[in-house]
């Protein structure tokens, strides 16, 4: 996988000679250039950059500005600093601000190339895997409580993305300019990826609060929806298609029911791939029998029932004045969701 290196310097002759000198490494990386910090920032936003080499003294946004911007918005992209005004203090500051390499001008191109190759190798110091499904692997990362930066390339679209893990927690994700959960949803929809693992995580702060499992499920749900929308042009299939839905808008007492539905949705909602919640009295007979079965065993009131009905979605039934029906993805973390719902129904019981 060939990477793009961004060289930033306001002296065109420096850019030219570095480009020439680094041409012999074209099998490993290609060289892009920017003549000042502002152009570098634009390039970072638009192009797929793997590493930045920046001069420090430049008009407008200087090298420290480029370094700070990269650390804040693209913490996975390593930065090497080069300067003609090198001092010990300058070198210390560059490393303190996050630079992975520092080189004083004048230097031999081979010395810079060595720094670049070392930084790029570090991207995959934890290994590289080809043609795998990202979901399973990422759950392993979570289980193993790994701290790492994972770079992924989608085989189908050619897109690249980055995931940041600390102690198994997903902190952040990035696909080009998209960050956080939105980026994670994109990445988790990729079916076949090549990924490389770097055994460090430079992500400064947590941008993703949700659990990995829930984000994976949401990504699957979004993917399903995309697929369904493509299958039937102009029609977005909702879970309501599974079973009949009551027209409840005109019925009395809807406010209380809506409040309960909102509470349930808030608790489990999209987190577990729930698309909708509604009332459905078709199941009242079965719930009545389930309640009687509980009495036979002296188990007390029925809180809820989970059923695999052989359809695209499983259903959860919650008894009450009117039966609440929740269609769920059969791949959802069933036990966690049931636990949350049982707690919710207990809180609401008289």
């Amino acid at each position: 996988m060939r990477r793009n290196i961004l060289l930033v310097d306001d002296q065109q002759e420096v850019l030219h000679s570095l480009r020439e000198g680094l041409a012999e490494y074209r099998e490993v990386f290609s060289v892009m250039t920017a003549e000042d910090g502002d152009e570098a920032i634009r390039r970072l936003r638009q192009d797929d950059i793997s590493l930045v080499v920046t001069d420090l003294k430049m008009p407008n946004t200087d090298g420290f500005g480029v370094l700070a911007h990269t650390m804040e918005f693209y913490p996975d992209i390593p930065v090497i600093v080069m300067t003609g005004y090198s001092t010990t203090e300058m070198e210390r500051l560059a490393h303190k601000d996050g630079a992975v390499g520092y080189i004083a001008k004048p230097f031999k191109t081979s010395a810079l190339a060595k720094l670049i190759l070392t930084a790029l190798r570090r991207e995959a110091d934890g290994g590289t895997l080809h043609n795998i499904s990202s979901g399973m692997f990422l759950q392993l990362v979570e289980m193993e409580q790994k701290t790492c930066t994972i770079r992924l390339a989608d085989k189908a679209s050619g897109k690249r993305g980055v995931l940041f893990f600390r102690d198994g927690d997903l902190l952040d994700a990035r696909v080009n300019g998209v960050k956080g959960e939105d980026a994670a949803h994109q990445i988790f929809r990729w079916e076949e990826v090549t990924l490389s693992i770097e055994n460090t995580c430079r992500c400064p702060e947590r941008k993703i609060e949700g659990e990995l499992q829930a984000i994976l499920l949401e990504a699957m749900r979004l993917k399903d929806e995309e697929g369904k929308a493509e299958d039937i042009p102009g029609k977005k299939i909702e879970a309501e298609d599974l079973v009949p839905v009551d027209d409840e808008k005109e019925q009395p007492g809807n406010k209380e029911k809506e409040t309960l539905k909102k509470r349930i949705m808030r608790k489990i909602g999209t987190r577990y791939g729930v698309a909708t919640i509604y009332h459905d009295n078709v199941w009242d007979g079965l719930l009545g029998q389930m309640t009687r079965m509980g009495k036979r065993f002296s188990f007390g009131p029925l809180r809820l029932a989970y059923m695999d009905v052989g359809a695209a979605r499983d259903v959860i039934l919650i008894p009450g004045e009117e039966t609440i029906l929740i269609p769920v993805d059969s791949r959802c973390p069933r036990d966690r969701m049931i636990q949350a719902l049982v707690a919710e129904t207990c809180e609401n019981s008289p």
Partner: protein
Amino acid sequence: MLVSFEGQLVFKEFVGPLSMEPEIDSSWALFIHSLRGAGEIEMFYDHGRVYIRKTEIGYLFVITGESAPMAMVRLNCDMLVPAVKNVIKRDKFKGLFRRN
């Protein structure tokens, strides 16, 4: 407890302190009919749980306390259910259920 699709008791074994063993009457046939062929049902009560799994010859009922890990129950049933039909034929059904 294994109940046929017609509501007849095929097998039962209770290994815990259940308050009372269920009487198999005509209401079981109605209950099984109401399941509408569902493959798997989990019922959560205040003080217990019932896990129901469809097999080739009827519905398997696993009655547990309120703190039983359902994931383990499901897993054990995953292993047990494919063997149910064969074991019934050989009349060695009891060997499948272990006392813990």
